[in-house]
Symmetry: none
């Protein structure tokens, strides 16, 4: 009986710079492939085409808290390219790599990449829906609320090779942890 500490936690006060880390790994698809060639983005390293910051030395944006990621053209370009390439929900590894690459063009974090894909995907879908299907399905306004079937395999024919023993490895793991202690 007694754990008073919990009580304190229940209140949960005091926080400094809470940061949440989310890590995810692919669940089922994965389907190999990645590994691409050598798309050496490194070569694209550019001098941060940002607004001429009054600041002098390499002072990345992000004053101290409150500024949200402001993607550079390069970053957007790359992200869109990847999106067109088929990437929609990159797993942790991919996100890490992407982030690493994009960070060369400006400050960026994994979450930004994560969110970007989430938002881009969602908004593309939104546009599609709005611009098309004028008289397809009078759904009304319940795109996802319906319990009925949704999401149908558009291209479930890509089976081809590798079908023996699906790896099933990783399982998207989400972990929370503070990005920056509390300085800043």
């Amino acid at each position: 009986m007694g754990n008073m500490k919990v009580h304190e936690l229940a209140r949960g006060f005091r926080e400094q710079e809470p940061s949440l880390s989310l890590c995810c790994k692919p669940l089922r698809p994965t389907s190999a492939a990645d590994t691409l060639s050598s798309f050496d983005l490194k070569a694209f390293i550019t001098p941060k085409t940002k607004h001429h910051n009054p600041h002098s030395h390499q002072v990345d944006m992000q004053p101290a808290g409150g500024t949200r990621w402001n993607p550079t053209q390069q970053q957007i370009r790359i992200l869109e390219m990847m999106y067109r390439g088929g990437t929609r929900t990159p797993n942790a590894q991919q996100i890490e790599q992407i982030t690493a690459q994009l960070s060369k063009y400006g400050k960026i974090e994994g979450k930004n990449v994560f969110y970007w894909f989430q938002n881009h995907k969602a908004r593309e879908r939104q546009k599609q829906k709005r611009n098309s299907a004028p008289m397809e399905r009078d759904d009304g306004d319940s795109p996802y609320k319906r319990k009925c079937r949704r999401r149908q395999p558009f291209l479930c024919m890509e089976e081809e090779s590798r079908s023996s023993s699906f790896k099933e490895e990783e399982t998207r793991t989400l972990e929370l942890f503070p990005l920056h202690p509390e300085s800043r």
Copy 2:
């Protein structure tokens, strides 16, 4: 009735990025330094335990293997207590603390706590709705409700920038981070 699932069939339909470009092969993609918490539990293959202890109240069975978190009674108890105490969407720090506490009663990770609150909150709401409970008193800190409510900082820090009072810098920061590359 037979409520069967088709998850098995449904596989690899999602997106299957055929060729994720961009991958990189620079000089060291973040060097899998992660490994922060590599699951030591690995191929212990849960013996599927066929009814081990029929009457063993709450056994601290450590979920070995890449199975999902299986909370112990103690953990649940504490979590519910906290929930009742008002905690609904703990931030990273709180989650860390909670996790630390709960880990004393069984294996647990931050993500579990995070998910637990998400699910619990959602399902409580679900029940309420289902029962059309008249009493709509809850949410001590629901940021998103209806357009009428404006995001309210859970706890304001200090650090004022330009305006006055708080600066709501409490916004959770989400960062992607791989727990374990893939190992397995």
